[in-house]
């Protein structure tokens, strides 16, 4: 097999070097695909076409396989997140404590279904399958920060604050 020549970085954005670093640490092995995609997502917030192609080429993984992996796992997102993200846990304990009402009222307030971002790009409404803080159900992640025993009004107030920012 000819020696691997890694493709050039897509741009001079420094974050690509972090991505490259993860691949180098794993010796550009094919099995580092998921690890690398994690690095892309944590550096850029989401995975776009350019990133998936770059990673696939660098690791010599068929593009179809890379795309398959990205779409298989819920953690990976193909769309850029909004400026703020409200993630509502919909695990069993939260469901029993009425998290469906939280989702419904957030959807109504923002005018977008779960999993999407408002048109102005300000707020993303996401749901999570259990973040493991069931003792404090219902749980929401406000920009990644965990808040337990969340009341509907409290969540709406937060959305209001973001909306007028």
């Amino acid at each position: 097999m000819p020696a691997l020549i890694p493709p050039p970085l897509p741009s001079d954005d420094k974050r690509w070097r972090i991505v490259n670093g993860t691949m180098r640490k794993n010796g550009f092995a094919r099995h580092a695909l998921i690890e690398t995609l994690h690095t892309v997502q944590s550096s850029f917030g989401y995975l776009d076409d350019v990133a998936i192609r770059f990673v696939a080429k660098s690791l010599r993984v068929p593009l179809s396989q890379a795309y398959g992996v990205v779409t298989f796992y819920h953690y990976f997102s193909l769309k850029p997140p909004g400026k703020h993200t409200m993630t509502i846990c919909t695990g069993t304990a939260c469901y029993i404590k009425g998290t469906d009402k939280l989702v419904a009222s957030a959807e109504k307030r923002l005018g977008v279904p779960q999993g999407q971002t408002t048109k102005d790009g300000k707020i993303s409404l996401m749901t999570a399958r259990c973040v493991g803080a069931c003792g404090r159900a219902p749980v929401v992640l406000v920009d990644g920060e965990l808040h337990g025993q969340m009341a509907g009004d409290e969540m709406l107030e937060q959305l209001e604050r973001w909306a007028v920012e």
Binding site: F72, Y75, T92, A93, C130, G132, A133, C134, G135, A137
Partner: protein
């Protein structure tokens, strides 16, 4: 590293701790941290310094009672405080050596007295980011003992004797699994720790990894020695950032102390562990799917055999156990398999950690001996259903488990007893429901979960769960018929018997068990077009004018 060196480290930690009159343990697990227990710890440290009292403020892992957090445990007085805020710090410190602060005190003797802690013995007592704290609590003694005094075969024998069964849910005898991998031929073998706790409503593994990660690593190292592996992976959910961070620290420290790496304890045993992050797929809890995910592929299961014990990661013999299973290993080696076998019921040995959540007073983690009745867990340790509501069902085993009604609460918790009544032990989620929960809606919730989490490889699971969801949605909307109910029951059997992996095979369990114990609720939805719990939004039927 040998036993004397371990003892020296332990001695120096004890000598350091002996300089203090009081130890203030602050819970810094995910639950309490979300209520700012980090700020509380800083305030306590400051207050302790200002007061001039000899008090050690320590960061610890989970103390169990997540709903009462932030929790603070004062030793040696053994006073537990609940809902402690940073502004209470001075009062807590001032009370040291005197009367405890009554307003904050949490007196739940009944909650703690009925528990037996093996897996959680260090949780809430040691700093999870300090390896020496773990060593001072008998940590790594089992590994050193195994490496220097026991043959791999003797280690496997102890595990067989202990009667330990897989804590991930399947309940496969751990000793048998180990001996299969030990017998498999090959120069390269792997040990994998399954921390992909995808089961919604369960957080035992997260808590163990956050509170006492060294225990899991020690268990893995002992397993690697017993089966002849040299490389290990811990597969953790990316949704557990704190667990990942603590595990990373723990692995670094273990390498520094020479407890991971090459020639551990001056023997020919080499072992190191890497972390692999999950990416949010419930099916990856299935062992062959998890292996595919570590290999960087989509997490789809493979038909077994060949079992991972023979051909697993990169087609090498692989041992996969759950976090809690590994957490049991060190105490078994330290105290002997017979000791472990003396706890629990006839065919289920030891203890089990449950995540007690839902409509229950004392939500949090509990560890109980196998064989204890569900009633004792829910009414005794859990404190019963709050706000004057009536208990309706307890759900065990997550989306693969079933709903257990009140009349069966007196059965003892064991793998076999739970299967017999249509549920499973599962990984340990225990969700209590009261009269405000609609069982048809609950069944629909679980089927929706299985439908979205189905990997799509086999048709019974991919298409079957989707059809079951459609039927259950009809019931919830009040448009279902008795013929639909019949179809649903038929479909349950098909999906259960024809699916490739555990996800599909157990997906119908929540439907089957609610049909068995709460059939009247289905009838109410279908025939009387009403939801007894008032959860489902059933529109009054529109009368068609002729």
């Amino acid at each position: 590293m040998n036993l004397e060196e371990l003892e020296q480290i332990a001695e120096s930690v004890r000598a350091e701790n002996a300089k203090f009159d009081h130890e203030i343990n602050v819970c810094m697990g995910t639950g309490c941290l979300s209520q700012h227990s980090d700020k509380l710890r800083d305030a306590l440290t400051k207050a302790a310094e200002a007061s001039g009292k000899k008090a050690l403020v320590r960061r610890t892992g989970c103390m169990g009672l997540c709903a009462a957090g932030p929790l603070v445990l004062v030793d040696p007085e053994e006073v537990l405080y609940q809902h402690v805020k940073a502004e209470n710090a001075e009062a807590v410190v001032a009370s040291l050596g005197g009367e405890p602060v009554a307003a904050l005190q949490c007196d739940l003797r009944e909650h703690f007295d009925q528990q037996v802690h093996i897996v959680l013995e260090n949780s809430g007592h040691i700093d999870p980011e300090k390896i020496d704290d773990y060593i001072a609590h008998d940590g790594y003694q089992a590994l050193v003992k195994a490496l220097t005094e026991m043959s791999p075969n003797e280690v496997v024998q102890q595990i067989v004797e202990s009667g330990l069964r897989g804590r991930g849910g399947g309940g496969y005898p751990t000793g048998l699994k180990w001996s299969t991998v030990a017998k498999a031929t090959g120069d390269l073998k792997y040990v994998i720790c399954n921390g992909d706790e995808g089961d919604p409503g369960a957080f035992m593994d997260r808590s163990v990894l956050e509170s006492d990660p060294q225990r899991v690593v020690e268990g893995m190292a002992i397993a690697a020695y017993a089966v002849g592996a040299s490389k290990g992976y811990v597969y953790v959910r990316a949704e557990y950032p704190l667990a990942v961070a603590r595990l990373t620290t723990c692995l670094r420290d273990a390498r520094r102390r020479g407890l991971l790496g090459n020639s551990i304890c001056n023997t020919s045993f080499n072992f190191d562990v890497e972390i692999r992050l999950g990416a949010g797929a419930f099916v990856c809890g299935e062992e062959t799917a998890l292996i595919a995910s570590i290999e960087g592929k989509r997490g789809t299961p493979k038909p077994r055999p060949p079992y991972p014990a023979v051909s697993g990661l990169w087609e090498r013999p692989t041992l996969i156990n759950n976090v809690e299973t590994f957490a049991n290993i060190a105490p078994i080696i330290r105290k002997g398999g017979k000791w472990f076998a003396s706890i629990g019921s006839e065919r289920s040995k030891g203890t089990k950690v449950f995540a007690l959540t839902g409509k229950i007073t004392n939500t949090g983690l509990v560890e109980v001996p196998m064989g204890i009745s569900l009633r004792k867990i829910i009414e005794g340790i859990g404190g019963g259903v709050p706000d004057g509501h009536k208990f309706k069902a307890v759900q065990t085993g997550g989306p693969s488990g079933g709903c257990i009604p009140e009349e069966l609460l007196d059965i003892g918790v064991s793998y076999d007893a739970l299967v017999k009544i249509g549920s499973i032990m599962g990984s340990g989620g225990m969700i209590v429901m009261d009269d405000t929960s609609c069982m048809v809606n609950v069944a629909r919730f679980f089927i929706e979960f299985c439908m979205t989490e189905s990997c799509g490889k086999c048709i019974p699971c991919r298409a079957g769960t989707a059809q079951m969801f459609t039927l259950l949605s009809r019931f919830c909307a009040g448009t279902g018929t008795m013929a639909d109910l019949e179809l649903l029951e038929e479909l349950c059997i098909t999906v259960k018997e024809a699916s490739l992996c555990g996800l599909g095979q157990t997906a119908p369990n929540p439907v089957l068990s609610t049909l068995k114990y709460f059939r009247q609720e289905y009838i109410d939805h279908i025939v009387h077009k009403r939801c007894p719990a008032g959860v489902c939004n059933i529109q009054a039927p529109v009368e068609v004018l002729a």
